[in-house]
């Protein structure tokens, strides 16, 4: 007898099982922010969901994300922000701080900075108070057309941060913003626009964090568009400590003009799943970009960082170091590309990714890449995935240090080179505490 039952195989490209049913609310249809959102919404509707047949999504599946169950984040989703998150990250007090908590936004900016023309505010206020500047950044930003989630972030991102530093202004004190969310099964979208005019400098720390919830999945979509003008310098620190129910999708672009410099730091500790695209675009001659990332995953976390160092002008320098440690059944992916355009001669590109896999069930994928279209460049890369070395542990134990502490010391040592690249005591402390907490699981 032959079996006549029909076997149905699910098509591989079907990534999302149920359909996203939300529509953005355009509250003031005439404002430029709404117009921009509407454009993004139109793009959103035409774009397909990412599929695991695409290289960038091969290792990060969104199949288990229940898009159909998502609700718009209501105005009742604000909750107490943990004090730790608003502590200054340096000895200096903040030059300005913006806290987003549900529908509540509090904005502070040093008066002196405001008088110098520095804008550090949310997008809603920017629309009424600084329409020309907002228009300048919105018109220049096409990041939302990158993919479905980028479009989603822009279409639903009815608020966010605008940081603008005028020409010849140096901002010494760090500026800090926190996007804090709470809720069960909600969609949170957010956008950050940074614009440094010529010959200026600033330090900006942005953190995304959320409250742990009991059930449901939250979707976090964010978009960051950063421009560093000629001969300017930006220190940009991003911290991510989202809850274990958050699915986090971010598209970030930093474009660096002639002789300008960005020092870009990523710290990722949270979220259930993250897919982050970070592009460093060295568009001006002699520009420099440094990218430093650290992550520490546990449980069933899945963090995927996709970095791009694009050398688009001559004499440009990039230097990337990402370091991660993994516990439990967690996974990390780092996929990095150095691209050197035909005209970008005398370029120096470097990328390294080092992973410490602390559990047999954890896994780190490290995929460096080079695409070089010109001669006279120096590009090097390296990637390693290793375990805790038993001889190192033994050595420390032989000096009377208990096993657990020995292991913690080695893990801290592993991260030390990346900590050295972070000029903020507060950020280092936060990360050290996180190591301590996560290592209890080891």
């Amino acid at each position: 007898m032959t079996d006549n039952s029909v076997v149905i195989t699910r098509s591989k490209s079907t990534q999302v099982e149920d359909q996203f049913a939300l529509t953005p609310v355009f509250s003031d249809g005439l404002g430029q922010l709404n117009q921009y959102q509407q454009q993004a919404w139109e793009v959103f509707k035409t774009l397909p969901y990412p599929s695991d047949t695409q290289e960038a999504w091969r290792r990060t599946s969104i199949r288990a994300l229940k898009l159909g169950k998502l609700q718009l984040a209501g105005s009742n989703t604000n909750s107490q922000i943990p004090a730790e998150l608003t502590k200054p990250l340096t000895d200096d007090l903040h030059g300005g701080e913006i806290l987003f908590n549900g529908s509540q936004v509090t904005i502070e900016l040093d008066e002196k900075l405001a008088r110098q023309g520095v804008v550090f505010t949310d997008l809603r206020h920017a629309q009424t108070e600084h329409p020309e500047i907002l228009s300048k950044v919105l018109q220049a930003s096409k990041t939302y057309s990158e993919d479905k989630f980028a479009a989603l972030a822009a279409a639903f991102g009815s608020n966010g941060v605008l940081l603008y530093i005028p020409k010849n202004v140096t901002v010494e004190k760090p500026l800090h913003s926190l996007f804090w969310t709470a809720g069960e099964g909600s969609l949170h979208a957010f956008q950050v626009f940074v614009f440094l005019e010529e010959n200026s400098s600033a330090t900006y720390v942005h953190e995304s964090a959320s409250a742990e919830s009991k059930q449901g999945q939250n979707l976090h979509a964010a978009l960051m568009d950063v421009k560093v003008g000629p001969n300017s310098k930006l220190n940009f620190v991003e911290l991510q400590s989202l809850s274990s129910r958050d699915w986090n999708f971010t598209h970030e672009k930093v474009s660096v003009d002639s002789d300008a410099e960005v020092d870009w730091i990523f710290g990722a500790l949270g979220s259930h799943l993250t897919k982050n695209f970070s592009d460093l675009n060295l568009v001006g001659r002699g520009s420099t970009g440094k990218m430093s990332g650290f992550f520490f995953t546990n449980g069933d976390q899945h963090l995927d960082h996709d970095t791009q160092q694009n050398h688009l002008a001559p004499n440009t320098t990039s230097d990337l170091l990402f370091k991660g440690a993994l516990l439990g059944e967690s996974r990390s992916v780092w996929q990095g590309m150095i691209y050197v355009a035909e005209n970008a001669s005398k370029t120096d590109g470097y990328q390294a990714n080092r992973n410490l896999v602390l559990s047999d069930k954890a896994r780190a994928d490290s995929i460096p890449g080079l695409e070089i279209l010109t001669d006279d460049v120096r590009c090097t890369h390296g990637a390693t995935v290793g375990k805790l070395d038993t001889d190192q542990v033994f050595y420390l134990e032989s000096r009377g240090i208990p096993r657990k502490e020995a292991e913690k010391l080695i893990v801290e040592g592993f991260f030390d080179p990346i900590m050295q690249r972070i000029p903020f005591e507060g950020v280092r402390k936060r990360f050290q505490n996180a190591i301590e907490q996560k290592m209890r699981e080891y």
Binding site: Y395, S398, G400, I401, G413
Partner: protein, 260 residues
Amino acid sequence: MSELDIHDLKVSIEGKQILNGVNLNVKQGEVHAIMGPNGTGKSTLAYTLMGHPSYTVNSGSATFKGQNLLDLAVDERSRLGLFLAFQYPVSIPGVTVANFLRTAVNARRKALNPEDKGIAIPEFRKLLMEKMSILKMDSSFAGRYLNEGFSGGEKKRAEVLQMAILQPEIAILDETDSGLDIDALRIVSEGVNLLRSQNIGVLLITHYQRMLNYIKPDVVHIMMGGAIVESGGADLALHLEEQGYDWVREKYENGTPSVN
């Protein structure tokens, strides 16, 4: 008084027995030298006493200060007063010498008193700088990653520095002399002698007489085929230097241990 007592110790690694019944007794204040050809199990003995997880003790015993050493965790052995200066110290990237040693000192204090808040940083710095100057180590070593990029001799010096700070009661020095230049050999030996005056017991594994010129042994043992086959006074080392190991081999028929 601290005493390390090893009785008929048989040890294997990867299923291969290396130590075939070692007997040894080292008391506080004594210096014992162990000499013997390459691969006879000297380091195996040292590692086993310190508790390296790769070694399996098949039979025999090792007691230290009356406690069964083999039952203790590695860190407990250290805090009890045993120290091993490694033949090949590993490097620990990202962990500075100062941070590492402060952690080690604090681990000792915490074991004595769980409430201990740890050594004050200025006090620790003073201790570290004092010991480093005795060993003629540049103060910049304090901020360097442990053994990372250290030269052979620098590693050995760093081992003795650790010993000077942790103040053990019995120390095993596994070829601490190899890799040291002539001046360093003297400095390091003086460092060991300083501890000796505080009544430390030393088990000194070496291939050469030269360190024994500075640190005078009470007993010299010859190890062959995984056992101590011959013991004598300080002149035994001089004898070996002149004659080599052939006569020992002949006497013990390719390392078959004697029954003592």
